[in-house]
Subunit: 419 residues, 2 copies
């Protein structure tokens, strides 16, 4: 069972927005055993849309289209779908009522004919309810294939996927089982790992495919199994991961489940009724925004002081000026004092701190570019760790965030075991 | 002059990573008058890669490929390019020396044969120097078309684009001029704007194309002009934007240049030698990470207190407990006190605060879901503004960030004019 995703909209092709929708859709399709064969981004241009629809429908069973459903003239997806299916637009009264309700409740400007026209849908389409927006989703079935058209607004699209598209696909198709397991490693590069596990890799069962995903200091190894029997595939994967542990167990840090690392950490904290705060210099609030992204995060995450100036470190985190003068602002001592300061100020069990030179210039410190200290304060004390994350700002910040997440997860697990 | 982008890698098609590279590449190509006709993401799969290369080269003059250049077995782009150009791999000594140097300087593990093999390049390719990584870029010319292959690691790819690919394309092709202008509006929805400017839109000169880009409370109108004479196109755009001002000047907030809004704000601040800090509740550090993303941001941005608990608001920002008790934590009074607190604590000229219920549950306050107060403290005083950003967490946070940026920019501009 394969799918293709088509994203329609000039803004992607001139680089004005990043296409986050395709990654989300791919992930959700994969979970139900549908593999994505190709993602194609094209402009709001009639002929190109029609041609892309034709080509995709020759290759895939499911075609998911996003974008181009706005009320304005530049949005032509609906018209193109009509042409593609030799169909015409008809008014959908239920959709019209929903549009009128949204305008009454949430939108300051009066409803216009353009808005009302969003309730005109191709007669062959089943409308999919878009709770958060005025552009309805559309579901077509044609010669055993399913075509879905959704708005490009990410949160509208996601709700449609979750409530309408995924359940609909599960009802319509019987699908193979696809299971991904991702092993997280730290400490060795991609090629060094590849050499160590070469014979393991060569002897993987045919059902399992391996991919290396290096990213800012960690390499994830993704094993994808494909077949018909979920139990059998899970056993195959278990066996292979056990074998992998025998070879490179020292650098394996854990398995990534569907959750992001920040969610994994939040869950660990909530389990133990522990709390976390951060004091961020070089990561500039990136840790805090990671930890606050998910609903319910306030149960374990209490806050952050982002101190981009030396004075804010002394005044907000009570770091003695002498320490900064003596050791410089980028130092193990300051990292420790920051972590301790955050832990005290926010009254949390754990705290992470980061201080470093992300570059491109040196700032308030003599430390080399790329040097970063990460402090971890726990109920058992405080530690600081030194790293050199290289010479590129984005890399330094990204690696600092990843490493800080790793260190805090390790600390929480360790102290959790001891208790 | 048209280009196509091909991104190769299973991780995109199973949704493990978001393809940010294509947006960056599209933007850079657009700046030099190359329009991107299609972006295609495919797996590391020989036949599909070869077929996609063939199809793209039939449609476009420039084919930019990213990904699949790692040292491990799952990366096959180089082999496929050899097959496509009927070529063979030969050792590039300069690339080999660079790989060896990177290992000596930055990489803990010893260099392996797999790493050394990254210096094997197709004989018809010109190597492009990848300063930050071991996978060289490659430049092919074939029947008047240019093919470029780059690693998928974003910061490596960006440096290659900037230093090698863009200059190379400018030398190779004479290109039309493409100019984009983006007008930012706040306060009216997409369709309401479309109705107001309908006759202006219908009468746009043939060289200009209009797109509506709605995003979390603001609608951007992008005018794209295409032709041969830069001066003429600029004049056309000036005239049309003047006309637009006559119709909807009341909701036009400014022109977006190439810089993001946070960079625009930082530049305004640096010009006046002013500084900024934030106190964030519902935005959870998102404002701080926006402001610290760019190099040099510490000149104007001094820090943030992310207070995800009520006690941190009182202790770190000195907000009197009575105010929180009397008005609740989500209130104009608390927003004002937070902004004032940040301004005092970080000794900055301006401060932004956010407090609200992003949902999905209500948290420490009685305020409705979606209610957000944004405080703006300036040398002239402090104001708070109330909004209802609806019922979806991501939307509420995103709209809060956008609105806070708008409000602070307006304040800085206003006080700048008065001075």
């Amino acid at each position: 069972m394969t799918a293709e995703i088509i994203t329609i909209g000039d803004e992607i092709l001139i680089g004005q927005i990043v296409d986050t929708n395709s990654a989300y859709i791919s992930k959700e399709l994969n979970k139900i055993g549908v593999s994505v064969h190709q993602i194609t981004s094209i402009q709001d241009e009639r002929e190109h849309i029609l041609q892309t629809l034709t080509e995709a429908s020759q290759r895939a069973d499911i075609i998911i289209i996003t974008g181009g459903l706005g009320p304005t003239k530049d949005d032509i997806t609906k018209k193109c779908l009509c042409e593609f299916f030799d169909d015409k637009l008809v008014r959908n009264d239920k959709v019209l009522r929903h549009i009128e309700e949204l305008f009454e409740k949430y939108i300051d400007t009066p409803i216009s004919d353009l808005n009302r026209d969003q309730a005109l849908l191709p007669s062959k389409a089943t409308a999919l309810h878009n709770e958060y927006g005025t552009a309805a989703g559309m579901w077509f079935e044609d010669q055993g294939k399913v075509f879905v058209s959704m708005p490009g607004v990410p949160y509208e699209m996601r709700v449609l996927m979750e409530r309408e598209v995924i359940p609909g696909l599960m009802r319509t198709f019987s699908r193979p089982v696809i299971i991904h397991r991702t092993v997280i490693t730290y400490g060795l590069g991609e090629s060094a790992i590849a050499e160590k596990i070469e014979s393991w890799e060569d002897n993987l069962p045919a059902e399992i495919k391996l991919a290396y995903l290096p990213n800012l200091g960690r390499v994830r190894l993704r094993l994808s199994a494909r077949g018909v029997d979920e139990n059998y595939l899970n056993k195959l994967l278990d066996t292979q991961i056990d074998l992998l542990h025998e070879i490179i167990g020292d650098i394996i840090f854990g398995l990534e489940d569907d959750d992001s690392l920040e969610v994994v950490i939040s869950k660990l904290l909530v389990q133990k009724e522990w709390t976390l705060s951060t004091a961020e210099s070089c990561t500039g609030g990136r840790l805090a925004s990671n930890f606050t992204r998910e609903p319910g995060s306030s149960a374990s995450f209490k806050g952050s002081v982002v101190c981009y100036s030396t004075t804010s470190k002394t005044e907000l985190l009570d770091i003695p000026e002498e320490i900064i003068k003596k050791y410089s602002v980028v130092s193990a001592q300051v990292a420790k004092a920051m972590a301790t300061g955050a832990r005290n100020k926010f009254h949390t069990d754990f705290a992470i701190s980061t201080t470093g030179n992300a570059g491109p210039t040196k700032g308030d410190s003599d430390a080399d570019l790329g040097v970063v200290f990460i402090g971890i304060a726990t109920p058992k004390g405080v530690e600081a760790y030194e790293f050199n994350f290289g010479n590129h700002r984005e890399k330094v910040i990204g690696k600092s965030v990843n490493k800080a997440m790793q260190l805090i997860q390790e600390s929480i697990l360790k102290i959790g075991e001891e208790n």
